[in-house]
């Protein structure tokens, strides 16, 4: 671990201890102006004294990233930003959405699209954001694949990544039904039926998705719960684990860098 700048030692709360006099400042009385200036630092210190979070922050932010790290390495965090954008726009859509298959769902989406201020814009961001996120996940996966980044010691991060991929696709599949227009309805019926052809758990899985053997009233609320609670929760938790491993193991150096270093070592040996 590289050397890190030291934080100042945590101050004991003001009233308990008078600050040491500063040069040229009389007996050390501190005016309200100075106190206000330091308030920000004091709050940070106060929290840090109780949580020791600043160590983790420094560990995360000031870790070294190998030389030669290029733009391909931004695809992972780009995926994360697409996910965050989906989360924020999704919250706004959820404020209006009603998972009611007998017309309420469709009507609420129509209301958002046509009446609500910026409603169509936010819905468009959510809709197209899903495509962007899927593309970015695949690009990011391609980068880690072609750079051999899944090899020792990052195998586990690859496995978590595949789960993230499946969850992302699940998000898109469950979200597609929610507007409850014709496209949504029939594509989902076919999709759930496809699930049902699977071996062993296939029929159970599609019964679970439908909420019974029929595509009915519970189906929509199930998809809604899966789409906005279950899977996003899992995604957020697993992205956290994914990033923890990235920070802990460090990002790979571009695979081409190795050769250069070998040559240098050779020179050193001679």
């Amino acid at each position: 671990m590289p050397r890190l700048p030291k934080l100042p030692s945590p101050p004991v709360p003001g009233p308990l201890k008078a600050p040491p006099p500063r040069p040229g400042e009389g007996n050390g009385a501190v005016g309200p102006l100075e106190e206000a200036k330091e308030a920000g630092i004091t709050v940070v210190d106060w929290v840090d004294e109780r949580t020791s979070l600043s160590g983790a922050g420094r560990w995360l932010m000031f870790r070294k990233v190998p030389k030669g790290t290029n733009w391909f390495y931004t695809l992972g965090s780009a995926t994360m930003f697409a996910f965050l954008s989906q989360a924020v726009t999704g919250v706004f859509l959820a404020m209006y959405y009603r998972p009611d298959p007998s017309g309420g769902a469709y009507e609420s989406i129509r209301h958002v699209t046509n009446d609500v201020f910026l409603g169509q814009f936010v819905r468009g961001m959510h809709k197209w954001g899903s495509s962007v996120m899927v593309i970015l996940v695949f690009l990011h996966m391609g980068r880690t694949f072609f750079f051999g980044a899944y090899k020792y010691p990052r195998e586990l991060n690859w496995v978590i990544g595949v789960v993230l991929l499946i969850l992302t696709m699940t998000m898109s599949f469950t979200g597609y039904l929610l507007p409850f227009d014709q496209r949504a309805y029939w594509a989902t019926i076919v999709g759930v039926n496809i699930n049902g052809t699977g071996p062993l758990i296939g029929p159970y899985l599609s019964d679970f998705l439908r909420g019974g053997s029929e595509f009915g009233a519970t189906t929509l609320s199930r998809f809604y719960a899966i789409h906005m609670l279950l899977v996003p929760g899992l995604l957020a938790a697993l992205i956290g684990a994914h990033l923890y491993l990235v920070a802990k193991l460090g990002t790979t150096a571009p695979p081409w860098l190795k050769a250069e270093k070998r040559a240098e070592l050779h020179e050193a040996e001679v």
Binding site: K64, P66, Y106, Y152, F173, W186, F215, W256, K261
Partner: protein, 244 residues
């Protein structure tokens, strides 16, 4: 990778990392720039392409196109290409499941120490082939139309029978055309040749009751059409059982 190779890797990596730059602000700046690009793309797409809403879901109609979101097209296409019904579960579940298992286990069967793509020819070529195949299937899936009209000559015996038979035939043809059957079935020169079987000569294979039973209680992935209004349902069965 054996123990020695692992240690060699960790040693090399430690050197490379020590020569690197701190994450903040260098990597953060790049990630931030990329984040701005991502947001700009999403916002532009939303402004330009908008968010359409089709007509309300209606289990009893007509004019729907069972089409997934575009990034599932490749799956849909696999489904279309593999025709025999006995192989459909293989296409729908078998291929994707196998692909997922292979993807999960990748780090455990590809354990060589080499990381440069040009020195891992098998992995690199496989990756490129898979990407090309998926791009091709997506493209094909996107272009597989779902026509909503059936154009074919009315069979002679129906024309001769005329009257009610001809009426039912024409009505049924319309309902079938509008009910999305052509997304999965071929009738004459119309529709896609998969995932469902060709229906051009369905009546010579399946009696009237058999057709009705299929529509009420089909095998996946075909959706059930038992919610069609009785009159429309009757016309559909009538139409199909004339296709000798």
């Amino acid at each position: 990778m054996n123990k020695r190779e692992k240690e060699a890797y960790l040693r090399d990596y430690a050197i490379l990392k020590a020569k690197g730059k701190p994450f903040f602000p260098y990597a953060v700046a790049k990630d931030g720039a990329m984040a701005c690009v991502v947001m700009a793309v999403i916002i532009t797409m939303s402004l330009v392409l908008g968010a359409e809403l089709g007509s309300k879901a209606n289990p009893t109609t007509t004019t729907y196109v069972p089409r997934p979101e575009w990034y599932f097209f490749f799956l849909f296409e696999v489904l279309r290409v593999i025709k025999p019904p006995s192989l459909v579960p293989l296409a729908t579940i078998g291929v994707p499941t196998l692909a997922m298992i292979l993807l999960f286990l990748l780090p455990f069967y590809d354990r060589g120490p080499e990381r440069r793509p040009e020195r891992r020819p098998i992995a690199t070529v496989t990756g490129i082939v898979v990407i090309a195949a998926m791009a091709f299937l997506t493209y094909e899936g996107a272009n597989a139309g779902s026509p909503t009209a059936i154009e074919m000559p009315t069979p002679a015996h129906v024309v001769k029978a005329g009257g009610a038979t001809l009426g039912e035939y024409e009505a049924g043809k319309l309902v079938v055309a509008q009910s999305g059957c052509l997304a999965c079935h071929k009738i004459g020169e119309n529709g896609n040749s998969g995932p469902g079987p060709d229906l051009t000569h369905i009546a010579s294979r399946l009696p009237r009751q058999g057709i009705a039973r299929t529509l009420v209680n089909p095998t996946a992935p075909m959706p059930s059409f038992k919610n069609l209004p009785p009159q429309k349902f009757k016309s559909v069965v009538e139409f199909l059982s004339q296709l000798k």
